[in-house]
Amino acid sequence: MKSLIRSRLALGAALAVLLAGGVAFAKLNPGQKVFVKAKNTKLLAKPEANSQVREILQPGDEVAWESGPEAKEFHRIKSPKNTEGYVFFSNLALERPKPEIFTGGTTKDARAFASSGAATRALAEGAIRYGDKKLNDQQAVAAVVTMEAIAAQVSAGDAAKLVAENGLIPAVGEKEKK
């Protein structure tokens, strides 16, 4: 009986997550600086998912908010290059992403970090040595390398295809400007 009550309470709590709507939205002011958060954010000519792409923006780019939401999901913004257009609500954040730390304690913003290639490196020499010499387990090293190789095969295009198949929000664009 106790477990039945508990499971009903749990289900109620789960459903309550959905009922959290109806709260007043926070407001933005035209011209307010906000930040791009999703990789390859498409700046669209119209508030439509398949509209012409005017520019590709990257995480950390500071943009000026103009209006929104329009057609429920889109906000009108102006890019650092002064290009105006629409992005999904999911593409924007109120705060700039924290910078990544580099050698000597220097920092790089998200765009510079992405272009450095640091984040896409494969298994480091020390980790391979640890697996080979300390754990005496080359299979474990090979398994992690395979994990990395499979992840490296996945592209933004693959993610976009999955998003389209499932009717998700296409916040992450393919890199190429259409």
């Binding site: 999911s90 992405a114 998003v163 916040a171």
Partner: protein
């Protein structure tokens, strides 16, 4: 490869259930827990208000080795070692490349390995596609997140390592009923990486080693830290202590984990961190923060938040790990967080109440077999 002998825990995120850490290291780790654990009985019995000297030594080490000083090279090298440790303890379900073809990243890129297009690897590719889409919307969108499955069929668990490594146990995978739930688990682990939770543990071990070295150099036996925990003197003489001592002399903070001379230190610090998280899990606050990231990412990508809550409620949390909140507590926290976001973040939109779950369509089935 060794099969995992995992303790019977039921949780999501943060538990590193490993058999690899040796008993001696575990003893030392328990002694040097600082921020995430209570002081040992011995320490609390003898603890008095820290002297100015104790505080100065501690602060000097924090300033030098805090997580804010850990650069991405160090993070990814340490994360790689943690990933190998996890793979060693719980075989990754994958048709792996030939071990003889493995070379360090400087000599061979991840894209240069030829991966067989087997059903298992294709299922992992799907897992990585779901994860890629989430990671690319996270606060650390440029990190390359990698997702894999551990062969453990008993412990419902997910865990992550710095640098972007995420693992799910096969037992957890069996409980997942929709892509939304899968996305929730992956997003929660991305949250731990975004907040550098395991890396915080790594930095704390470096700080403690620095304190041990400092006290030995002062020639005193009163090696206390401000929390009252005793720093084991042996730590100063260990490979890690020696590596940290060299750093202290050189004026640098970054431990070159790829250098052969630091290989013993890397092994020591990896096993310390793994066994520490294994014993205690992350702090409750860290789990709640990771759930907040999960909510942000699910909502941003368009997955059902209710599906994630449903999964959390189906898990028996808390119990074995001192710090781990229960599923019900986590759902309650998520509810509060959504309320707060709706009021404060104009880019956070409520989901339709009838939002349907996305079926998995047997896409993960090859990972559940054999």
């Amino acid at each position: 490869m060794k099969r995992a002998r995992l303790p019977a825990l039921l949780l999501l995120g943060g538990s590193l259930a490993l058999a690899g850490a040796c008993a001696e290291l575990e003893k030392q780790t328990k002694k040097i827990q600082t921020d995430t654990s209570k002081a040992s009985t011995h320490a609390s019995e003898t603890f008095q208000k820290p002297t100015k000297e104790v505080e100065e030594v501690h602060q000097g080490c924090v300033d030098r080795f805090d997580v804010k000083t850990v650069d991405f090279d160090e993070e990814s090298s340490f994360g790689g070692a943690m990933a190998v440790n996890l793979a060693h303890s719980g075989l990754i379900v994958v048709d792996a490349v030939n071990p003889s073809t493995v070379k360090p990243e400087a000599k061979k890129k991840a894209t240069e390995y030829k991966v067989k297009p087997t059903p298992k690897n294709e299922a992992l590719r799907y897992l990585n596609t779901v994860g890629f889409n989430l990671g690319a919307q996270s606060e650390r969108a440029s990190v390359r997140y990698r997702f894999a499955v551990l062969s453990d069929d008993k412990v419902v668990n997910a865990l992550s390592a710095p640098g972007g490594y995420v693992f799910l146990s096969r037992a957890l995978l069996r409980k997942i009923e929709s892509e939304d739930q899968l996305a929730g688990v992956l997003a929660h682990e991305i949250g731990h990486i975004v907040h550098r939770d395991a890396l915080n543990g790594y930095s704390r071990v470096k700080v403690t080693a620095c304190e041990a070295v400092s006290w030995v150099r002062k020639g005193t036996s009163g090696m206390k830290v401000p929390t009252g925990t005793m720093v084991p003197k042996e730590l100063a003489d260990s490979p890690l202590g020696k590596s940290i001592a060299k750093l202290m002399d050189s004026g640098s903070s970054a431990l070159n984990l790829n250098s052969d001379e630091n290989s013993d230190a890397l092994a020591q610090i990896t096993e310390k961190v793994v066994s520490s998280i294994n014993d205690l899990g992350y702090a409750k606050e860290d789990e709640y923060k990771a759930d907040e990231v999960a909510v942000d990412l699910l909502q941003s990508a368009g997955y059902s938040l209710a599906e994630y809550a449903k999964l959390l409620n189906s898990l028996q949390g808390g119990g074995a790990l001192k710090n781990h909140p229960s599923g019900a507590d986590r759902v309650a926290h998520i509810r509060k967080y959504i309320d707060q976001k709706l009021q404060s973040d104009p880019f956070f939109q409520p989901q339709p109440k009838d939002k349907a779950a996305i079926p998995l369509k047997d896409r993960l089935k090859p990972l559940l077999e054999g």
